[in-house]
């Protein structure tokens, strides 16, 4: 069956990108739908607040749309989007400080399954998580990117090196310093 006759959901990544380039309705929507959550989480962990993460996520997908012709399929769409996402986030954090928004009230934005744990446990856990997120958001940008990709997106050091345009040794060194700095930022409170 020709790619054009197949349902979009059945297409492999290369064919899906080709469908986008052919202006096939719904093709790019499907890419967004599949990757919006991980892109949003990457951005959120970088900037630490919902509004900026939302704007950055949109920016990532628009840049991806503009760059579709340059996608050669040498990496997965997810890795390609992470690369765009990291660049967008690094540009943002170098352009303005986001520290002022890091104290965003968690319950304003977070969808919580209230029945899963007691209210006090949940509050304690969230306070602790907010403390750690704030500390991560204060790391130098490259260390932050390395830690986020390694810890939360389960990327290998090699993949991170490819995304950041550095060597595996440099990625491991950045990861080491990110964890060491995280310890200093959290102090004895964790």
């Amino acid at each position: 069956m020709a790619a054009a006759d197949q349902p979009l959901a059945d297409l492999d990544e290369r064919a899906l990108v080709d469908a986008c380039l052919a202006n096939q309705p719904g093709a790019f929507d499907l890419i967004v739908e599949r990757h919006r959550r991980s892109v949003y989480q990457l951005c959120y962990r970088f900037v630490g607040n919902h509004e900026d993460a939302s704007d950055l996520s949109q920016d990532v997908f628009i840049r991806a749309f503009r760059g579709l012709r340059r996608f050669r399929g040498q990496s997965s769409i997810a890795t390609w989007l992470y690369r765009i996402g990291v660049n967008v986030c690094l540009n943002r954090v170098s352009a303005k400080s986001t520290l002022g928004k890091l104290t965003e009230p968690i319950h304003d934005r977070q969808f919580v399954d209230a029945g899963a744990e007691s209210a006090s446990d949940r509050i304690l856990k969230e306070e602790r998580a907010a403390h750690v997120r704030a500390a991560i958001a204060q790391l130098p940008p490259t260390q932050r990117a390395t830690l986020i990709l390694r810890m939360y997106h389960e990327m290998s050091h090699q993949e991170i090196a490819s995304i950041l345009g550095s060597s595996v040794g440099a990625v491991k060194a950045n990861f080491f310093h990110a964890l060491a700095n995280l310890k200093k930022l959290l102090g004895e409170g964790i």
Binding site: V32, H50, R66, R128
Partner: protein, 206 residues
């Protein structure tokens, strides 16, 4: 520094990371057994990895994802609409063809007029048989003069591929253009042009 004077070589950052992540066994780093500093660093790395791993990103409302998709869809549609005329190959052709036609047509007109106006003065008395009556139509392209006149040959070759319709679309006949000047001559101008053409063609035996 150890008593024997040798410098202690601690594990490097990437080696500590590999050990903390379990990418290599501790048995592969004999130094670890004898160095409390390196052992502590490995412990600290593992502790921070555990702390970080426990932190989930806040999950927005389930409705948010559709909202994000809609925002992206709208932004992409706006982007696509804005860039399409410049990226579409057919659109480029539509833009460039009339422009190309305009350039070629301008060259033709300039060459034609300059070759006539810059021509050497006519011989004083053309033979009576060569005088062309006002009512006769001169076929510049197919007449005998065309074979001998290099400028007409040049004009003919330049205009061979010219799409006159495209030239028209390009606004070639707008006021002030060369074509406008030629097609809007008054009677005196036309008479003078005809006289010049007649003189030019007469010596070649037309």
């Amino acid at each position: 520094m150890p008593e024997d004077g040798t410098r202690t070589m601690h594990l490097k950052d990437d080696e500590l990371v590999d050990l903390a992540e379990g990418a290599r066994p501790e048995s592969s780093a004999p130094h670890l057994a004898s160095c409390e500093q390196c052992r502590r660093q490995v412990r600290d790395l593992r502790a921070m990895m555990s702390v970080a791993a426990d932190v989930e990103a806040p999950e927005p409302s389930p409705l948010y994802w559709d909202h994000l998709s809609a925002r992206v869809r709208e932004a992409v549609a706006t982007e696509a609409a804005a860039r399409r005329p410049w990226l579409d190959e057919a659109a480029w052709r539509r833009v460039l063809m009339p422009a190309w036609a305009a350039v070629v047509a301008s060259i033709i007109i300039v060459v034609a007029l300059s070759s006539r106006l810059m021509a050497p003065p006519p011989s004083p008395a053309p033979p009576a048989a060569a005088v062309v009556k006002d009512t006769e139509v001169i076929d510049l392209w197919n007449g005998p003069a065309a074979d001998d006149d290099e400028s007409l040959t040049l004009v003919a070759s330049l205009s061979a591929g010219l799409d006159l319709e495209a030239a028209g679309e390009a606004g070639l006949a707008a006021g002030g253009s060369a074509e406008h000047a030629v097609t809007h001559m008054d009677d005196d101008d036309l008479r003078e042009l005809r006289r010049l053409l007649t003189q030019e063609l007469a010596p070649s035996g037309a």
